[in-house]
């Protein structure tokens, strides 16, 4: 699981959970995977990113990439910044571990890089 996906993932599909965001990451195994840098994509995603959630997630995975709190117009052309965001969003891979719902404490296992978001009968 990439932090890009994590930045949008919620557990609000559980009955009774309102926001379910952001999910905490309990990492088991984290890897870095090289991904081609595409400034156009990162720039497009900037306004959609929840920065506090990204900072927290990166920290949980053991990275302090100097991520911003917010991104304003004046930073859009800052290639250095875009590269740091690129690395955090696309190159950090949580291979094994758990996600934890902030409201219910429900844990979702991550195996082989894939978070298991399946629910039980009484959760739907």
């Amino acid at each position: 699981m990439k932090l890009l996906t994590h930045n949008f993932l919620t557990s609000n599909i559980i009955k009774g959970v309102k926001n379910g965001y952001p999910l905490s990451i309990l990492p088991g195994k984290v890897e870095m995977k090289e991904v081609d840098f595409n400034p156009e994509f990162i720039t497009r995603m900037l306004p959609k990113i929840e920065w506090s959630a990204l900072q927290k997630a990166a920290k949980e995975c053991g990275f302090e990439e100097g991520l911003p709190d917010t991104v304003g117009e004046e930073q859009l052309g800052d290639t250095d910044l875009l590269k740091r965001v690129h690395k955090a969003l696309l190159e950090i891979e949580v291979v094994e571990g758990k996600l934890v719902c902030p409201e219910s404490g429900r844990e979702f296992p991550i195996n082989n890089g894939i978070p298991n978001m399946l629910l039980n009968e009484d959760e739907v």
Partner: protein, 278 residues
């Protein structure tokens, strides 16, 4: 599908798409070709803006549909209920990120996450009640409602799917509309039982949009509702032996062309009697 018939009738998807079935989706070239072709067509109908977009692939399986998304320069997340299919996707090193999940439980993403959605050969699975507590209309509504929220306003979702009958088709479209989507069906090659493909094309708000035309459709409207036409045609043919009739061959070739099949070009030899040989 050794026993033939519809997979949805054989087992729930997380069991049907077991290790063996999943392997086919990385080794069977014919299957790969078909799924890639359907995905490309779905993306054509989806018509994403000419910028790298963030796309959701529902029932992504081994990532065949996702690879088409990557080829067009977009980024994607795939969701599937079968861990075997997803493991194959990991082995194939697809570019997209993967989530194990049941679309009937809802789409676990924040409002406005995705620029667009595709789903290839998966939606019909939601019409089945695979567990005692499954209620297909409810699952469909939950699915379409949560998907509507997860897509940016003005975004689109294109589903290629295989409805079993017209009541399934009606149920699916009805629940989608109830969830706020607009849109409709695009049918490619409507005249062919084999080449015919259905795409449910949905819009999440924004400007009212026109549905694209299905392939091989122009001719279909004229040959539409053709019970009387057909009777006329049969009447005109009476008294001739249609098998040796050039017109019959030409019309059959025309029909096959409409169905999207490869047909040899017509020539002066078409339908000519062959010399008897010994």
């Amino acid at each position: 599908m050794a026993s033939g018939g519809r997979p949805e009738r054989q087992a729930p998807p997380e069991f049907f798409y077991n290790e063996d079935e999943a392997k086919k989706y990385s080794s069977n070239t014919r299957m790969i070709e078909i799924q890639s072709h359907l995905s490309e067509r779905a993306l054509e109908i989806l018509k994403l803006p000419d910028q790298p977009c963030f796309v959701l692939d529902i029932g992504c399986g081994s990532g065949l549909s996702g690879e088409s998304i990557t080829e067009q320069g977009h980024y994607w997340v795939g969701m599937d209920i079968s861990s075997h299919m997803l493991d194959v996707a990991v082995d194939r090193e697809v570019e997209g990120d993967l989530i194990l999940g049941d679309m009937g439980y809802g789409i676990p993403f924040k409002p406005g996450t995705f620029d667009g959605v595709i789903s290839i050969s998966a939606l019909q699975w939601l019409c089945n009640a695979d567990k005692k507590y499954h209620h297909p209309p409810k699952r469909l509504l939950k699915f379409f409602t949560s998907l509507y929220a997860a897509v940016a306003r003005g975004g689109k979702a294109v589903f290629q799917f295989y409805p079993e009958n017209s009541s399934q088709l009606e149920l699916i479209t009805q629940q989608a509309m109830k969830a706020g989507w607009t849109g409709g069906l695009v049918v490619d090659y409507p005249n062919s039982t084999k080449a015919k493909k259905m795409f449910l094309c949905l819009f999440a708000g924004g400007q009212p949009q026109q549905l694209p035309k299905g392939l091989g459709e122009e001719q279909s409207s004229s040959s539409h509702v053709s019970f009387t036409d057909k009777r006329e045609r049969m009447k005109n043919m009476r008294g001739k032996n249609p098998k040796t009739n050039k017109d019959w061959i030409l019309s059959k070739k025309e029909r096959r062309r409409r169905q999207g099949k490869e047909v040899r070009a017509d020539s002066k030899y078409t339908g000519r009697k062959r010399k008897d040989k010994f």
